[in-house]
Assembly symmetry: D2
Homo-oligomer: 331 residues x 4
Amino acid sequence: MQFLSDNAAAVHPAVWDAMRAADDPQPPYDGDAISQSLDARFTELFGREAAVLWVATGTAANCLALATMCPPHGGVVCHREAHIEVDEGGAPGFYLHGAKLLLAEGEGAKLTPEAVRAVVDPIRDDVHQVQPHALSVTQASEYGHAYRPAELAALGETARARGLGFHVDGARFANAAAFLGCSPAEAAGPCDALSFGFVKNGGLTAEAIVFFRPDLADVARYRRKRAGHLQSKGRFLAAQIAAMLDGDIWLANARHANAAAAEIGQACGERLMHPVEANELFVRLTAAERQTLRGQGFGFYDWGSDAARFVTAWNTREADAKALAQAIAGL
Amino acid sequence: MQFLSDNAAAVHPAVWDAMRAADDPQPPYDGDAISQSLDARFTELFGREAAVLWVATGTAANCLALATMCPPHGGVVCHREAHIEVDEGGAPGFYLHGAKLLLAEGEGAKLTPEAVRAVVDPIRDDVHQVQPHALSVTQASEYGHAYRPAELAALGETARARGLGFHVDGARFANAAAFLGCSPAEAAGPCDALSFGFVKNGGLTAEAIVFFRPDLADVARYRRKRAGHLQSKGRFLAAQIAAMLDGDIWLANARHANAAAAEIGQACGERLMHPVEANELFVRLTAAERQTLRGQGFGFYDWGSDAARFVTAWNTREADAKALAQAIAGL
Amino acid sequence: MQFLSDNAAAVHPAVWDAMRAADDPQPPYDGDAISQSLDARFTELFGREAAVLWVATGTAANCLALATMCPPHGGVVCHREAHIEVDEGGAPGFYLHGAKLLLAEGEGAKLTPEAVRAVVDPIRDDVHQVQPHALSVTQASEYGHAYRPAELAALGETARARGLGFHVDGARFANAAAFLGCSPAEAAGPCDALSFGFVKNGGLTAEAIVFFRPDLADVARYRRKRAGHLQSKGRFLAAQIAAMLDGDIWLANARHANAAAAEIGQACGERLMHPVEANELFVRLTAAERQTLRGQGFGFYDWGSDAARFVTAWNTREADAKALAQAIAGL
Amino acid sequence: MQFLSDNAAAVHPAVWDAMRAADDPQPPYDGDAISQSLDARFTELFGREAAVLWVATGTAANCLALATMCPPHGGVVCHREAHIEVDEGGAPGFYLHGAKLLLAEGEGAKLTPEAVRAVVDPIRDDVHQVQPHALSVTQASEYGHAYRPAELAALGETARARGLGFHVDGARFANAAAFLGCSPAEAAGPCDALSFGFVKNGGLTAEAIVFFRPDLADVARYRRKRAGHLQSKGRFLAAQIAAMLDGDIWLANARHANAAAAEIGQACGERLMHPVEANELFVRLTAAERQTLRGQGFGFYDWGSDAARFVTAWNTREADAKALAQAIAGL
């Protein structure tokens, strides 16, 4: 009964099938038919012209996207607890050649136009201070909050007004979209590039960088190769993504994970540190309570000294979710 | 009847099986049992203590290895036609933070101690010139030549004498080892790190960086994450590699490809630009001859204006190899 | 009556004289006799073996020093308001190839061992988080506080215990040393490298990086050239530094500036935001009061909306300092 | 009787005077009146709108200029013996974040449109190969050749046709202009940026980057600060440059050096490896002959094993030049 993370969950059968089906002679890199089809697939999904690159990890997706928006001497506004700041081993510093993350505050790891302006406005327009060139937000946020379409629209407007590129880290974009119930386009907002995550949602080794500005994608293609992320058998990455789009498996998987999280969340009541919108739960639990739960066979990470994080996945069994809900309720 | 490249060839069934078998709950990144087993596997294979990291591409493998040996202000000696110089989109410049490739000459894209010294010796030991810190050779070379163990030993000695780290790009290491018929350790020589390729030899998305100096591996782990190459479902990469080592599939696959190349090579006679040692053939063919071959259903790349490159793979059908041999003989 | 900054103050006559005296044929770069003498001069001054490089700016001095201590994938602990974080246009990101500044808190822009540990201790020792490799403090701090010898010793001990390189940004090291009245060695603490500032203290274009570890200096020499900071007529930089050391002009100049600041500080009373230890004053003044002072001919920068910063220099006239003291007292 | 290099020659009296005159209170960095005047001065000199930044070294000038033209994943075409390739300690790799120098051939270290195309044309327009983004030539070349205006025009046309930025390394631009006798604009050609050297020509610590595209200068200002090359007492650099422009001292100094070189050159006859156009001479001399000359008190560098390099300067005494000419003639 594992709730450690969705990042190592099983692979969806349709993904396996699609990969096996792709095991026929095809041109290398992204010259195969499936890779070539991705632009059209995402253009249709978002209703905006999209240019799409597959990569193996969310870190690479985020950093390649941002590297197209921010020069080495610039800065990227993001939340103080953003994944790119906290958990990517300094990858933005590598990919952006020393550009700086400019850290903003916000409840639940979410940014607002005010929070962005609080970072950007005090920066003197002189060469002694790093100038902001891009804005990056996480959908759903690192605490499982989904930005509402209107919130993204407002952030996009702020970015535009300040001349900032707008990137969305969508490692759990599917979960956000499933929660919001809106169109993918609304869930992504008016961004220039979206890191659309599949690995946490039933994929194997493929994430998509969805560029809504073709000029950025053109740059990213060179940067992807230069970063060693252009795989010769890329058709197997493209196949994963295409399989997830077919019949909206990406959405069904996310709905499943969200539902499991919601069920557990209802049992947590006042223990919840954040409302449960996606597939992560941050739950106040004493050390003793956590020990009790682990004794009952539940796997999860501690979150600081007084809480735990539970993550559901596309393949979380309903029985496991129910069992966890009951176990927490019974503490 | 494709002889374009081995880089997009089919995936070996044992690789598929191993990946499916790995689709059970495991810790993320390289915390799974298979990833954890790789050090021991390669230590056994090479008879030297090895610390091993999987990555998705040969470019990442090469560059991560070199980044542990050469500081940003240093240089890496390699052949003028080395893959890292010619075909990696500037990845060494990225991963090594602007370090310089110091280009040496040599027949068949192979280096000798003399060739290395011809580059290294004229460099004044002052701050105005980039100082060499590492040596990188390709086994088999970009023209399909295999370094003999004694040649590697001599190069290793040269590297040691000059204080250079020693890296072997083994994108087609299996083909070299199969040709040489020696032990893997002899085929790798006294190097500090080997990029051991699997993708061209029946793998899907996994290459191994085999470090024979654990201190370098420790650094490489941070660099791999920072480069976005630490995959959360890394067990699927580890599984590919382990599967290839089981029962020496890596060697059998390479022998198969080499045999096909040898058969074709015998038909080429004087047309051969290089002796056929691994699985690549560089064959003098006029434009008309190439057109004839393509008309007969053979796929391959032009090599300049007067030649063609043919590459065999682990799954090249014997019939196809024979057909190509006959077709060339019949020109 | 300028109190804007010491960074553009006049050049000391002895510096001019020394530069003119150096205008004879000498080897380029740092091959001249004066450059060659600097190691011995600073070794004598600090009573520790020192290897010294001149550079033109404090930014270059800080970044070159730190680049020898922290790899591209590492981090440098510094104060949230440290000059390297706030005012160097992202130079550390450039020189350290994307390494990260890890920001600590502390009164008056000073760090303590506790503040350092509060940053370092929560960092998990895994590849997802940037690991600390160096510590940088500013002597005197950005708010004009001088670290006491015991404080530096404790910070040095913390650095050693954690395996961090220890750098002191001494843009106003002279002012700190003059205030402390201790030996230069005590004022620098057990650091590995000191950026010893001269430009703000009567120099023209020369700062010294004083390495107390020769191995770091060896690396820095390559990095200095690579950064375009090895000047061919370097003898003129060396001459400035040597001139400032002769007869302890550096100390006399700093004492003068400190004395002027102290006199003004006594007139400020409760208005002082920080005790005046070096040559900077941060003074609470309303907009109207600032206007009054400016109307009386005093030049200075606003510090936020309710305060002003005054900086004295080696050449601040006593009459000007007195006048400012009286003007503030009279508000 | 030194002919080692012009890079460490004495400072012109007018430069000293201008620096001393600048020793009055002025805003820091480039806020002073002289720095602010440079755009107009160079605009007048070149008859094209110019935006000008001072820096301390030619390496910094070259690299900052190129960094505005070439992204980290791109390449700069230059001569195999260009100073940026051979003698700058890898600075282009640092400043351009790993961008690659693409090496072209040419007599006397000069490039032609054909030589540029020979490098550029074979580069496949795909992500595996580094794409060219800029062209850099040296005026006068590393062997003392001056590009004629028509040659620069043709190179500029080639650059424009290929979408390359066009940079001129003018470490000895004055010597080229003096030799050519044309306007500065003709001597610089249709370049986007010129590194206009003063240090070798009587300056102390100031070179000018002359941008003919203001958008590039805007970027370079941030990069200059980030590289630690924005000096707080920048007025002293600006003063040097302004002094050299006053009354065309830069041109008079170069004429003097060129004349001395020409006089020596006439005595060298067949010994000359290159025609003498600027202030450098490459002269075939046996070891014994060099020993003889050194025994007569002449200082110079060996150039390989069978030649020597002599460099004249703005302050080479006529008697010394004559003496060297006679000594060589008398060998």
